[in-house]
């Protein structure tokens, strides 16, 4: 009997009625971990000595899960998939993981990722590339690539991710699962390796909206070690989950969803946008009003560059602590400067170095106003525009990306500059700290695609309810890559 393809509530029931023990679940999850490691290279560490735990009335108790490798876990290798921390074992645990431990959840592996979350391909980690379980010639997207591959493969019902641009929500779409990052500050970032602090979010990848609600209920909470957290003790996402969303209003960005706006559009893109229209109809069948709204294309086209400038600037500063002097492999050299240079030259992948140079450049005093400060202004304009729309609408609904997972051998993909904004609009959710969830909404050529719903800050319940109701109109909840469910 296989259990790990079940949902949290199903597993909890079976644990409670004694059909299976936590120990057996952990054992099964570990076995599956090794299989998925062989197939997808999804993990940095598999915790073979993980033990089952007590089963209580807590939904998460005794159930195994995975943790992205940029979360600190006391006594367990935590590398951020970087050579600069390849032997780093933290002596404190990230608050989000510690919170889940209080609920009795059991970590069975640390999932691979793009180095420090700085990538959207799942190909830049120090332990190699992550392959998409639906088609191993394709990527999972990133940076939560290992978590997405593992959850989609049915290793466990959920794995933690982090999201700075779309790092939970895009891999979720490419792997046919659910990816949710709640409002900024709902989950503490203490212990999460920083990439770009003002954009970084903790979150989760699951196979159903309800599971996402349950896990975030367990992760969240105000934390004295993270000043940006806020008190959410009166929010109970799972308890208040409802599919009664009649009368809700959603908008989509007209320009980005209209196939007429893409010259020489591929068949894939056409199908993707057609499928999006079908999903809109499903929303309408639930009593949701969905309207196309125009947003100035200048603003939309500025999204990717605004993201690059802000995220690279914060990253170059955040990662200055990686010198190999206090932790990480010590570099060679006759003085600390040479040692540091050696450590960083050998440790970082070329992609990260490129981002550090961009970050440094845009912060230089002679460039700062033109690049960094302007990017902050544009960020503000975008957020203000979307917040204005949130006064009228409950959320923004958009297709995720331009279609299915890209090939690992990039030469097979046709990339067009006119699709940049469609590819990157999820970054709006990070600019504003908005709650944002991706759910699967279909297949193109047997590969999953996703849809995203983003709402206003602190309006997580509303966003989850709409996603929950929409999920109920489709047949993709709980699906496993290559599985029979």
């Amino acid at each position: 009997m296989k259990y790990m393809n079940l949902s949290i509530t199903e597993l909890h029931e079976k644990l409670k009625n004694g059909e299976v023990t936590s120990e057996e679940l952990v054992k099964e999850s570990l076995e599956l971990s090794h299989k998925v490691q062989d197939k997808c290279n999804a993990f940095v560490t598999i915790l073979d000595d993980a033990k089952g735990g007590n089963v209580t009335d807590d939904l998460l108790s005794g159930i195994p899960y995975g943790v992205k490798d940029n979360y600190s876990l006391k006594g367990v290798l935590s590398t951020g998939s970087s050579n600069t921390l390849k032997d780093y074992v933290p002596f404190f645990t990230a608050t989000a993981v510690a919170n889940l431990a209080k609920h009795g959840a059991i970590v069975v592996n640390k999932t691979a990722m793009d180095e420090f979350g700085m990538g959207g391909t799942g190909t830049t980690g120090h332990t190699g590339i992550q392959k998409n379980p639906w088609d191993v010639t394709r990527m999972c997207a990133g940076s939560s690539s290992g978590s997405a591959a593992a959850v989609a493969s049915g290793v466990y019902p959920y794995a933690l991710g982090s999201d700075t641009g779309d790092s939970i929500r895009k891999p979720a779409a490419y792997c046919g699962i659910v990816g949710y990052k709640p409002t900024y500050g709902m989950i503490s970032r203490y212990g999460l390796f920083a990439f770009a602090s003002s954009l970084d979010h903790c979150g989760v990848l699951t196979r159903s909206v309800r599971d996402a609600a349950i896990v975030v209920d367990g992760m969240k909470g105000i934390d004295k070690y993270d000043m940006t957290t806020w008190d959410s003790s009166n929010i109970h996402l799972n308890d208040n989950l409802t599919n009664d969303v009649k009368g809700k209003k959603l908008f989509y960005i007209k320009e980005l969803c209209d196939i007429e706006n893409y010259k020489d559009a591929t068949d894939e893109l056409k199908t993707h946008l057609e499928n999006f229209k079908e999903t809109i109809k499903k929303c309408e069948s639930l009593g949701i009003t969905v309207e196309g709204v125009s947003i100035d294309s200048k603003l939309l086209n500025a999204i990717p560059s605004t993201y690059v400038v802000v995220s690279c600037a914060e990253a170059t500063s955040n990662m200055s602590n990686l010198t190999g002097l206090i932790f990480g492999p010590r570099g060679e050299g006759s003085n600390y400067i040479e040692m540091m240079k050696d450590h960083r030259t050998k440790g970082f992948s070329p992609l990260i170095k490129r981002r550090f140079i961009i970050g440094s450049y845009v912060l230089q005093s002679e460039n700062q106003d033109r690049y960094f400060k302007n990017a902050q202004r544009v960020r503000r304009l975008i957020v203000d525009k979307v917040k204005e729309l949130f006064k009228e609408y409950d959320g923004l609904i958009m297709p995720v990306g331009t279609g299915v997972a890209k090939h690992l051998d990039g030469s097979k993909d046709i990339l067009k500059s006119d699709t940049a904004a469609l590819e990157d609009h999820l970054q709006i959710g990070n600019f504003g700290g908005f709650p944002s969830i991706t759910i699967p909404n279909g297949f193109i050529d047997n590969l999953p695609v996703g849809i995203n719903i983003t709402g206003n800050c602190y309006d997580d319940q509303n966003v989850l309810n709409i996603a929950y109701a929409l999920e109920g109109t489709m047949n993709y909840k709980g699906q496993i890559a290559g599985g029979d469910k």
Binding site: S72, Y88, P90, F92, A194, M227, T228, E314, T323, L325
Partner: protein, 477 residues
């Protein structure tokens, strides 16, 4: 001071030592001899750590901002100053970046010189930041102690408006007492809690000359000497027509040689790539909180001094000594509370106590003799149990043996004030000095002191001089 206009600006860094924890870290804010004992993961820049602002530090900063008549910001927020150095493991310092809003902007402070003239120092800004670790450079290796990393630091920047080395030191000394009076810092230069940078230029007209910065001067004496040296160096170059050799540069003060030494040119200045610290949300400073802080500002040294002069009739000189160190001033006030006369207390504190402390390079906090003990000694003196000379002896005995004064005031060495006992002694002396008695009675009245001396000699100084004199007059006149 010479023929050129001298313009000095100061940057004074003062460690905040009176908070329980550091400014962005929950580690203890306490000096420790044991290296790397007061640290949390953030102080060593471990991945995933986040700064958490200590509200008490903000309160203290705003208090200083008020004291310096500065404008307070609507929101408190912080910036990152990015540079690589091993004493700062995050490789950025969380600080504020004036002229962007910081805890205090555009203020002033009036300073009274020793000769009672005053001058005003313009305050450009005061801002709150974290200190770096302390490093010790040995022969072929350096050691780092992270205890100091993250300790709150207030940096005060004056306008370029100070005209002499003496004024610079007067300002710094007064600032130090303010930090002590406001219970923000011990402000102890010996513990490295105060560090100064000095900006200095000379000119023969109204315009400012080329500014030279002297970094990391760690004592007020050093500030004075560095200014004097730098004025001389720049003046000599100008006299010789070589003023173009004075460069806008950073120098350091070398205590051993008593000179300033070039570190780097301003052209090589580091680009710190400042940007707002994203992990600390902007903190709104409410009017109510500011009002509360304003009300809680304690009496400051100049106010205390005025009080001492007008209320207790102390001299300007005596009052100045008392208020210079808050703990000494507090000691004095405790004496008054116990009912010791102000002038007597002042005399004891200024002369005996301050003298003793200076001689032994001691702080009054570590002083054994409490105001209560002092009162005991003075009471015994007033009641005639001991003479003033004995009182002083008891005072030093107490300090020497660290025992209560009652141990040194006993019957044995008590003053003889019993009139009948003294009378019999006097009668005896007069009987043995008949010649002198006759001479006295024949008009040689200056022999009176001779009789007093005989009584003292006989009693080994223990006779109460007032009663002795009274009795002698009665017997002789």
């Amino acid at each position: 001071m010479g023929k050129y206009n001298v313009t000095i600006g100061l940057e004074m860094h003062c460690e905040v030592s009176k908070t329980n924890s550091k400014v962005f870290s929950s580690a203890r804010n306490e000096y420790s001899d044991l290296a790397n004992s007061n640290i949390r993961p953030i102080d060593m820049g471990f991945p995933g750590t986040l700064p958490v602002l200590n509200k008490e530090c903000v309160r203290m900063s705003l208090m200083m901002s008020e004291v310096l008549h500065c404008r307070q910001p609507e929101y408190v927020y912080f910036e990152r100053k990015n540079y690589y150095y091993p004493d700062m493991p995050k490789n950025f310092q969380i600080t504020q970046n004036p002229p962007e809003d910081c805890v205090g902007m555009n203020g002033y402070l009036d300073i009274i010189r020793d000769d009672n003239t005053t001058f005003r120092v313009g305050i450009d800004n005061i801002h709150l930041e974290e200190d770096a670790a302390s490093m010790n450079h040995l022969y072929d290796t350096s050691t780092i102690d992270y205890n100091r990393a993250g300790v709150p630091l207030l940096e005060l920047v004056t306008e370029p408006c100070i005209k002499s080395a003496d004024d610079a030191v007067s300002f710094l000394e007064y600032m130090r007492t303010i930090y002590q009076y406001c219970n923000i810092s011990e402000a102890d230069t010996k513990k490295g809690q105060i560090r100064c940078d000095v900006n200095i230029s000379i000119s023969d007209n109204e315009e400012l000359g080329t500014k030279v910065e002297i970094k990391n001067v760690n004592s007020f004496g050093g500030v004075h000497d560095a200014i004097v040296y730098e004025i001389k160096r720049q003046s000599e170059l100008k006299d010789a027509g070589r003023y173009d050799e004075v460069e806008q540069e950073t120098r350091r003060w070398d205590e051993e040689s008593g000179t300033t030494i070039r570190m780097r040119s301003k052209v090589d200045a580091i680009d710190y790539k400042y940007f707002v610290e994203p992990n600390i949300p902007r903190y709104k400073v409410s009017k109510e909180w500011l009002e509360e802080i304003r009300k809680s500002i304690p009496e400051l040294p100049y106010e205390r001094k005025d009080n001492y002069i007008t209320k207790y009739g102390l001299s300007d000189y005596d009052a100045t000594i008392l208020v210079k160190d808050k703990n000494i001033s507090d000691y004095f006030e405790k004496c008054l509370e116990l009912g010791i006369d102000a002038k007597i207390a002042c005399n004891w504190v200024d002369v005996n106590i301050v003298g003793y402390l200076n001689k032994n390079e001691m702080d009054i906090i570590d002083f054994y003799l409490t105001p209560e003990m002092l009162k005991f000694i003075i009471d015994n003196m007033n009641s005639g149990t001991i003479s003033s000379k004995q009182a002083k002896e008891v005072f030093f005995k107490v300090l020497e043996e660290e025992k209560e004064p009652k141990n040194f005031i006993s019957k044995e060495n008590a003053q003889i004030s019993d009139a009948s006992e003294l009378e019999s002694i006097i009668e005896e002396i007069l009987k043995n000095n008949e010649n002198q008695v006759n001479e006295y009675k024949n008009g040689k009245t200056n022999l009176f002191d001779y009789f007093v001396g005989q009584v003292m000699k006989n009693t080994r100084g223990k006779a109460n001089p007032v009663i002795t004199k009274e009795l002698l007059h009665k017997k002789l006149d």
